[in-house]
């Protein structure tokens, strides 16, 4: 296997790190105190979602519903070859990021911020929203 081919085998893993990892870092960087206080429900939710979805994922792959190109994945499989390492990271990662983000959005919505301002909360702290008149503007 050439050097370039070995790099390609990490394509899916790198996509996950770049997309899911990046969003997770940004979310937690700007909302660390809020999310840290809620670490327990975030972890419970992440575990619940992953435990629900991973057996379905493994079953679908084992049943031939789809598959992965061996050139672009690590090739590390669990449960008799049905569950790819990257899929485990995908489910844990996306559940963790989604739950963290929605907890932030729901808190802002509870404070009266309009829905169209919520995407900005990914990279703006609560202080920004409190300092603006979004809540008053919608009343």
């Amino acid at each position: 296997m050439s050097g370039l081919e070995s790099v390609f085998r990490f394509a899916y893993l790198l996509m996950e790190l770049l997309i899911i990892g990046e969003v997770a870092v940004v979310l937690w960087l700007f909302h660390f105190p809020f999310l840290w206080k809620r670490r327990q429900p975030i972890l419970i939710g992440t575990l619940l979602v992953s435990l629900y979805a991973l057996p379905l994922d493994a079953w679908a792959v084992a049943s031939g519903w789809g598959g992965f190109n061996p050139a672009y994945v690590t090739g590390v499989y669990f449960f008799s070859g049905a569950l790819l390492l990257e899929e485990i990271i995908f489910w844990f990662g996306t559940a963790f990021v989604t739950i963290s983000a929605v907890m932030i959005f729901a808190e802002l919505e509870r404070r009266g911020n309009p829905w169209w301002t919520l995407p900005a909360a990914v990279f703006l702290p609560f202080g920004f929203f409190d300092a603006t008149n979004f809540q008053q503007a919608t009343k």
């Binding site: 899916y12 429900p41 939710g45």
Partner: protein, 101 residues
């Protein structure tokens, strides 16, 4: 069984049950649920458009066939349902935390 039926059984059905059990979640937080679905689609569609038939593939026997930007419609429905289901769970868990503290 098809991918669409799997989504119906393990996505739409539990979502309906959750919203029936806790109707306050979609009523009080429609914005949070809408925004998370939009963001998930915005991030996932370009990713999937590149990955489908390169990094991974779906058996033509389990998908209907129509696709948008190379992404099967079932996969788009999956992302929307995933956002709604996980978002609903997050709001419920967040509320439990708020009530407890």
């Amino acid at each position: 069984m098809s991918y669409a039926f799997l989504l119906l059984l393990f996505g739409l059905l539990p979502l309906g049950l959750l919203w029936r059990t806790a109707p306050w979640i979609p009523r009080r937080h429609p914005g949070s649920l809408l925004v998370i679905v939009i963001l998930i689609l915005a991030v996932s569609v370009p990713w999937e458009a590149v990955a489908v038939n390169r990094l991974w593939f779906y058996s033509p026997e389990v998908i209907w066939g129509p696709s948008i930007l190379n992404v099967p419609v079932e996969e788009l429905a999956f992302f929307a349902l995933d956002g709604l289901l996980v978002g609903t769970l997050a709001i419920w868990l967040g509320e439990q935390y708020r009530v407890r503290t």
